[in-house]
Amino acid sequence: MTTVTPDTDVRADPPPPKRKRFKMENWWGVLWVLPSILAVMVFVYGFIIWTARVSVSAWKGLTPDYTYVGAQNFVNLASDKRFHIDVTNTIIFTLVFVLGCLLIGLGLAILLDKGIRAEGFYRSLFLFPMAISFIVTGVVWRWLMNPAQGDRLSGLNLLFHNLHLDFLVNSWYATPTWGIAAVAIGAVWQMSGYTMALYLAGLRAVPEALREAARVDGATEFQLYRRVIMPLLWPVTLAAVIILGHSSLKVFDLIIAMVGKQIALDVPSIYMWTTTFDGFFFGRGAAIGMVLLVSVAVLVIPYLWYSLRQESEG
């Protein structure tokens, strides 16, 4: 990194002219990104600070009230039954969503990497769901996973029934406690193609020579993947976990479209929205926002640190 600051020119010998021109260019660059830096400062960091301030206030109702109440809002959340459900749901959702995407994505990538015919066709096919918004996915899966029983079976349940697979008929997202896992299935459908693309790029980067060397050494195909290729794909897996993980922490639209606002399938972001804008509990809403921010940061910052270090080393 060669950052040039304007007032470091205390060296005895005059700087080469080329260097001077670069400095000018640098200022141009700063000038051009200035508006966006200012916008980010105000609209991202400024509002993070403001939200942090609101989260320790007693603000309730439309009129701002910045009375300092310490960590009261956070303490209340800790004993809030609804927030407990939110946290449980987020954990279940994240596990099903991330693991589902990784397994299906990796599986598809390995199959495609085997050099099947019309690979491009399949690749696009699996990637297409990603082009759809979560709202559309939610509506479609809402119908597919219709939990109605008896003679009102529909969607996947009706399909199972007609195939005489009645033991598979279930109440999907209306299942107590685990309903959120059904919602995660919709998300897996949407994002596993993306994970596949990540893995496919990773697989393509594994040198053919390594595979051949392993085969010459007598490795079975399974050992080849287990011992040679998977370790090489570790950075891809990490990146995928970060991307999928942080998006699952803030999932909102998919759940709203699929199951609406109901406590059984509530997550922190929905609680934050309803309590702030329907109930005007601004202090509590901001506290949930801060919890979400910290949990995403816990996931993302180590990764950023890791990849920045990688970059500066490489």
Binding site: E25, W28, W32, V33, P35, S36, A39, K60, G61, L62, T63, K81, R82, I85, R142, N146, P147, A148, Q149, G150, D151, R152, S171, Y173, A174, P176, V259, G260, K261, Q262, I263, A264, L265, D266, T274, T275, F277, D278, G279, F280, F281
Partner: protein, 439 residues
């Protein structure tokens, strides 16, 4: 060369961002112009001196609501030909978008002259608390509305003796919709008390009907809750919960919650996946016998071409006969309204016989006035008008009459948790806490 291109590209990008940032704020106001009038033109073109217009803010942008508003605007233009009506309706989400836009305009000290709100505490708790609307007692006196609106309605839309809004329509919340064929086949009558209700549903269940009572997503559960609590506690008990004369930890409440818990055992297992229309459809199809829903359900049935008495019948929710649990859309007068005279003219129209008779037949609701022209309304609405004029009027919780938004959202959470764990004691404790914190 490359640098230069990049520089230009950067410039374009910055400009685009700036333009996007500027336009996104004006976008909201241009989409509001559902009536074809762009708000931005009126705010720039109309200095304070011009008083012959009125800006009215609502979320009536589609269906019978927009048509009803248009019909009322026609009446307004006839009554006040010199005042221009500026329709600032904001589309989307049953008013949630509109209320967000309104809140930001109020915070920016740029109020519309008059806006829509659910009559009652939702409106009082939000706008009176923030000192943003004016009392309208003078208009009620001047127009003689106190004589034509039910006596029991007035306290529900007032605070400390001040009336804060003009209701233009009345909907009823405590209505039981039933499938007459299903009832006849099972040899049962429409129940009139909670006990009869349970007996009839037991009979239907024994006859093989899985879930005699159709219910939908979570807010319809709250809708059911208010009907059952009214049936169990009676009108004084129900209203007492909201004015503080009945304690939430009293045994009457426990009894009501137990009745509610029992009613829930007759509902469909896929309720959370259904909208209120789907729940109504179950009754039409005969998959369920009953549905408790507001009288917009009738509008939906009519839209499907169904006929009253043959395809569906109705009654007050069992145990609530003689009570009219109401909800209402109403209009307010902004404090420091830019066009105060225009706003008062609009409110006069909204409360007038002509205005209400223009709006309500189209919207599918009844007028707040009891002297409406009966020839304009259908069979169900006529029965609702009779009840409105003669019944005890009580307020709806789900639709903003009895509780402010904070309180209501806490009760909603409590109901949602109860749907999960079925714990009556915990439910009651949560309701007590909600009342303490927000009541």
């Amino acid at each position: 060369m490359m640098r230069k291109t990049l520089r230009i590209f950067g410039l374009v990008l910055v400009l685009a961002l700036v333009a996007a940032a500027c336009s996104s704020s004006s976008e909201e106001t241009t989409t509001t112009a559902a009536g074809g009038i762009d708000e931005s033109t009126t705010t720039t073109a109309a200095p304070a001196a011009m008083t012959d217009e009125v800006e009215v803010f609502s979320w009536w942008t589609g269906g019978g609501e927009a048509a009803g508003l248009d019909a009322m605007i026609v009446v307004f233009n006839k009554m006040y030909p010199n005042i221009e009506f500026v329709n600032s309706a904001v589309a989307g989400g049953a008013g949630t978008n509109a209320r967000a836009v309104l809140a930001s305009r109020l915070q920016a000290n740029d109020p519309p002259d008059s806006w829509q709100g659910h009559a009652g505490q939702e409106l009082i708790g939000t706008y009176v608390a923030a000192d943003q609307i004016e009392p309208l007692n003078f208009l009620y006196d001047e127009q003689g509305w106190l004589e034509v609106m039910p006596e029991t309605l007035i306290p529900l839309i007032s605070k400390d003796g001040n009336i804060y809004s003009v209701p233009v329509n009345i909907h009823r919340s405590n209505v039981l919709w039933a499938n007459p064929t299903v009832l006849a086949d099972a040899g049962v009558e429409i129940p009139t008390t909670l006990d009869e209700f349970f007996t009839v549903m037991d009979t239907l269940k024994a006859g093989g009907m899985e879930a005699p009572l159709a219910m939908g997503e979570q807010w319809t559960t709250m809708h059911l809750f208010e009907s059952i609590m009214l049936a169990s506690m009676g009108p004084d008990g129900w209203q007492g919960l909201w004015d503080g004369t009945v304690a939430w930890d009293s045994p009457e409440v426990t009894k009501g919650l137990e009745d509610f818990a029992k009613v829930l055992t007759y509902t469909n297992s896929d309720a959370s996946a259904l909208a209120w229309q789907d729940a109504g459809q179950l009754v039409l199809d005969g998959s369920a016998a009953f549905n408790i829903m507001g009288d917009w359900q009738e509008g939906f049935f009519r839209e499907l071409g169904k006929a009253p008495q043959t395809d569906y019948v109705w009654a007050a929710t069992p145990g609530t006969d003689g009570n009219f649990m109401f909800l209402s859309d109403s209009f307010v007068l902004a404090k420091n309204a830019p066009h105060r005279d225009g706003a008062i003219a609009w409110l006069t129209t909204a409360g007038s016989l002509e205005g209400q008779d223009a709006f309500n037949p189209v919207k599918g609701s009844i007028p707040a006035r009891s002297d409406a022209d009966r020839s304009l309304y259908g069979e169900y609405l006529l029965s609702a008008m009779d009840d409105w004029a003669s019944n005890r009027v009580v307020g709806s919780l789900t639709h903003g009459v009895v509780a402010n938004d904070s309180w209501k959202s806490e009760i909603d959470t409590a109901i949602g948790l109860f749907l999960i764990d079925g714990d009556v004691a915990g439910f009651q404790a949560a309701l007590v806490a909600a009342a303490e914190e927000s009541g």
